[in-house]
Amino acid sequence: MTKSVTDVICPFCGTLCDDLEVVVSDDGKTIVDVYNACAIGAEKFMHAQASGRVTRPRMQQPDGSYKEVSYDEAVEYTAQMLAKSKKPLMYGWSSTSCEAQSVGHEIAEQVGAIVDNTATVCHGTTLLAVQDVGIPSCTLGEVKNRADRIIFWGCNPCHAHPRHMSRYSIFPRGFFTNKGHKNRKMIVVDPRNTDTAKMADIHFQIEQGRDYELLSALRVALRKEVLPDTVAGVPKEKIYEAAELLTSGRFGIIFFGMGVTQTLSKNHNIDEAIMLTKDLNEFTKFSIMAMRGHYNVTGSGQVLGWQFGYPFCVDLSRGFARYNPGETSSNDLLRRGEVDAVFVLGSDPGAHFPISSVKKISELPSVAVDPHITPTTEVAKLHVPVAFVGVEVGGNCYRMDNVPIDARKVVDPPEGVLTDEEFLTRVNKRVKELMEA
């Protein structure tokens, strides 16, 4: 016999689908099947069950190999490393619960660490832009119920947020959008003819890195001012046409992703996209939303916000919280050699940071807390395996529109494996003892 757990939250991307159904074996130990999830989400649940999973901490040996150690030893190493360090970097926090983040921040406050999350390589530039010019936004349900103009700018939900279009943005029939996708016009801006672009009413195949120009051109077109013949490779007629399409809608939204946050103009792209949105509110109702990646990177920004007042790059090393991206951001700190220890939880900088930063991590005392084996765990001095949040332990998470959803536990973690929160709580206790001594 099997049993079914309903209303399960998917701990993959910022879409944070909460309608999964997971079938588990009678003893509650094995996941048999996953319904309603996208392929990636389903794989995440099934991967939790893969054989050969590491269930005990492993310490790197002088020859580069790893040797199993106890959780007690892992707690001791981590606490000693953090307590001794002058300026440790505590990075990640995006694939874990808010409860775990909160304990992590308590540790960071005691040892004077820098707390940074994956926004630093993802939507950090968005956060900077919001600090410059604000952000008019809405919840995903508003999009479902009202939106008739949808722009995907520099993002590819078909691959990165697979259920976004079916649950919220393109296909669902909402209160004022009872014809589903027939009520909506879709514009995609991407230098590649992506699978998302192929579905669009209009695809602007923009020259790579010229987003700022096209955004500015749309603002010009809204004002019916003069444009050059082409902007960013797009003929001006098409830009005027798009401006007309946007202003003729009742409720529009721009979703944007890495295509604008990671290119050279960085936060300036987002500034311009937000100002375009603000301009559009002179004509109709318009919102803008970042397509957040990790399922709880948004939550990390929230918890940091109410505890310290900044969404990422929070430097606690001087005894009070400071914030200065470019100085207190992970990659800048690593590149300049300003940190003397690295603690990673809920992220994989080994795969997602430029290799020069990864090299610095590998040279420092370092701990990687992660259920998986990743490039990070394989260069860190200590790997601490933990339970999967959202599969083997619950906890609060924030969706890309900042809506908090409490993730559910579906199965037990392997015998003896700690959760993030349990491991951090033990480290916190030990750090307290060391700092008071």
Binding site: A50, M258, S329
Partner: protein, 114 residues
């Protein structure tokens, strides 16, 4: 990617460069040839595949992962965000060189072996 980064599936999905057929032709490479991608910030061996979401002549696309991060521009220009996209690269055929697994690649780069 969620199936395990130590697995071969990850290497096959992300240890690639998607290139426009016209660029492959210019390079004189067949599809699925290993190539060496070099930028001012490093180099890496990946498999050249035909663009699935093209055409985009002149544009190469390496999915997010340690292979891409071997050649991306780490400069953040005081924003905290490395310049991951829009990095000028050169591609040359490296038929006999292997595409390393993510873990091998990162470990070897960290030890300075490659």
């Amino acid at each position: 990617m969620e199936g395990g980064k130590e697995k071969d599936a990850y290497r096959k999905a992300c240890g690639i460069i998607e290139m426009d057929p016209s660029d492959l032709k210019k390079l004189g490479a067949w599809r699925n040839t290993n190539v060496k991608v070099t930028s001012p910030h490093g180099s890496v061996i990946v498999k050249a595949v035909e663009a699935t979401q093209g055409p985009h002549p002149g544009l190469g696309y390496i999915p997010m992962g340690p292979w891409a991060n071997s050649v991306t521009d780490p400069n953040t220009y005081s924003t905290g965000m490395p310049t991951f996209k829009g990095v000028p690269i050169e591609v040359e055929i490296a038929m006999n060189e292997p595409v390393l697994s993510s873990i091998e690649l990162v470990q070897k780069k960290c030890r300075g072996e490659i």
